[in-house]
């Protein structure tokens, strides 16, 4: 039987994903996500104790570029897709501080 994950958890995932959810969506996702997670749990059947995780499909290393300046976009190009901008900056609602 498909599991469900409770609605409170679905809402928390929504917040972490920055997706506003309607009550109907919360109900649907709570059922569907549980069902899919139950499939994911199938991997627990496998013993992977001495297996290295495989993050890349091909094993490449040391792909490095020279520190030589190249072309940038013009500011007009950079701002051209922005939903809101002023003369030279992307515009967002007021907030405080930098992320770092």
């Amino acid at each position: 039987m498909p599991e469900t994950i409770d609605e409170q958890r679905v809402r928390r995932i929504g917040t972490l994903s920055r997706i506003a959810l309607s009550d109907a969506e919360v109900a649907t996702f709570s059922r569907q996500l549980g069902d899919i997670l139950a499939h994911f749990d199938k991997l627990q059947e496998l013993d992977t104790d001495n297996v290295e995780p495989m993050a890349h499909a091909v094993e490449l290393t040391n792909v490095l570029a020279d520190d030589t300046p190249g072309e940038s976009l013009s500011r007009e190009q950079a701002l051209s897709n922005a939903p809101a901008h002023d003369d030279d900056l992307f515009a967002v609602p007021k907030l405080i501080g930098d992320s770092q």
Partner: protein
């Protein structure tokens, strides 16, 4: 009651240093501060759909240089991870960083700390890790109702250096921060200019308190994004005071066990820290290996090549200057604030000049000019060969000290002639022609009978009058007479 209370601050520091590469970490946009907003941006650093990062080799090497200079273990294998959080100055809403395999780990930095008594001791601060990551852009708040975002800084390579909580007071903390600034500049890894945000601090502070046979630990407070040494100093001084006071009010409740870690922000105007509430999911960064970037493997050869560029580090050089050149600790300190100044001294000494004589020039006229120009003494433009030649001329009595300073200034002003050519050209060579010297001495004696009378008497004015006559002779020689010769001749004539 507090007689038996021993309070020890426990301070760790995260330092963010922007690396001095020509281009950003993952694209070839210029890494440059202060230009018009959003002019050094491209699909990669804007995080446009479909754009992919390619690692800047210079960023990796500069980070390795710093890690090796900090005695860190630089591993054979390192990789890049994504750190997820949403903020408008972070275009992809994840930051490319290093999570479990940083470029450097388990290092240390020896730091000279000047105590209240003026005695300098060396404190070793352990470095937990040093990892490479990309900087975010800048949010600009002084534009009307909203916030503006400038992404010129987005993707600039950033080295995060995390110390162990080894510092036990504000003096040690500041000394460590300054030593780190000196080190990264020394290595050419960063300009570490605080005003430009090229070096930023995040201290974490708590107190270890021994009282009544018990040990108390106050909550660890982390303060983000400090942009000056002053803010760092005020923050820590304030926190030590605040935590002490809080603990005294409630020794059981105000504890690490009960309250855990806290975030506080620095209030610049009030010079204090204020509590910051955090969202529950704030630290759920969902790190995972970045599939767009491949790992970097570091061979012994590569490590040695990069390590080979490091050369002598500030503290070692300081010690050598004291031991080999016989400098006072304060002199050695002043000459090891940057690499170029010490390099200049070494180059001058290598020409056969007396170290002490070179140091006098560097810390005299040199320091004054460097101060005026806001640059290092070593960056004034005087070469080691010229400095060495000048010092040797002074030692040989070919020019006197005053003329030496003039010649040094001319060299620092870009005079292309050699010290000897300058001395000859400007008539600064010491006059040793005894006939000429005698004539100047005679003229000075003839013109100043009162001074002669005072100088030959044994009254209080004797010394002063002799000095006055010396000055008169020097003036007539336009500075070119060798003072020791003048003194000798004048004494003879007056006796």
């Amino acid at each position: 009651m507090s007689d038996d209370v021993i309070i020890t601050p426990i301070i760790g520091l995260e330092i963010h240093v922007e690396l001095a590469t020509a281009t950003k970490m993952f694209c070839r946009c210029a890494n440059r501060f202060g230009d018009e907003p959003n002019t050094h941006v491209c699909p990669v650093c804007l995080g446009l759909p479909g754009a992919l990062p390619v690692m800047n080799a210079a960023a990796v090497e500069l980070a390795m240089t710093v890690a090796l200079a900090l005695d860190c273990t630089v591993p054979d294998f390192t990789k890049w991870d994504r750190k997820g959080y949403y903020y408008p100055d972070l275009p992809k809403n994840y930051q490319i960083s290093q999570y479990d395999l940083p470029l450097g780990a388990r290092g240390r930095l020896a730091v000279p700390v000047t105590g209240d008594d003026g005695v300098v001791t060396t404190k070793t601060v352990r470095v937990k890790r040093a990892h490479l990551e990309e900087d975010a852009g800048k949010n600009i708040h002084d534009r009307g109702a909203g916030t503006g975002v400038d992404l010129n800084r987005a993707g600039v390579p950033l080295l995060e250096i995390v110390s162990e909580p080894d510092m036990n007071g504000v003096a040690e903390l500041l000394a460590y921060a300054r030593a780190m600034q000196r080190l990264v500049r020394w290595l050419g890894a960063s300009e570490a200019n605080m005003q430009m945000g090229q070096m930023r601090f995040e201290p974490n502070i708590n107190l270890n308190i021994e009282s009544g046979g018990r040990t108390y630990k106050t909550p660890i407070v982390e303060v983000k994004n400090l942009n000056s040494f002053r803010a760092l100093e005020r923050t820590c001084a304030f926190e030590i005071q605040r935590q002490t006071a809080e603990w005294r009010k409630d020794p059981e409740g105000f504890s690490l066990e009960t309250l855990g870690k806290q975030n506080r922000g620095y209030d610049d105007a009030g010079e204090k820290t204020v509590f910051q509430r955090e969202k529950e999911e704030a630290h759920d960064y969902r790190y995972f290996p970045d599939p767009d970037l491949v790992p970097v493997t570091i061979s012994d050869d590569w490590r040695e090549t990069v390590g080979g560029t490091i050369g002598e580090l500030p503290l070692a050089r300081r010690q050598r200057f004291c031991d080999a050149y016989g400098l006072a600790p304060a002199e050695a300190d002043a000459l090891t604030q940057d690499a170029a100044t010490g390099d200049l001294l070494d180059a001058a000494v290598a020409t056969g000049a007396e170290p002490k004589r070179c140091v006098n020039l560097l810390l005299g006229r040199g320091a004054a000019m460097a101060n005026e120009r806001d640059c290092a003494i070593g960056a004034l433009g005087v070469t080691g060969v010229a400095l060495g030649a000048l010092a040797q001329m002074i030692d040989a009595g070919e020019v006197n000290a005053t003329a030496g300073e003039k010649i040094f200034a001319a060299l620092a002003d870009g005079d292309a002639d050699s010290p000897r050519q300058i001395a000859e050209r400007d008539g600064l060579l010491a006059v040793r022609d005894s006939g000429q010297l005698a004539a100047w001495v005679d003229a000075a004696i003839a013109a100043n009978p009162q001074a002669v009378a005072d100088a030959t008497g044994d009254g209080k004015k004797q010394k002063k009058a002799f000095g006055f006559l010396m000055g008169q002779v020097m003036q007539k020689s336009r500075g070119a007479a060798q003072p020791s010769e003048v003194q000798k001749l004048l004494s003879e004539k007056l006796s």
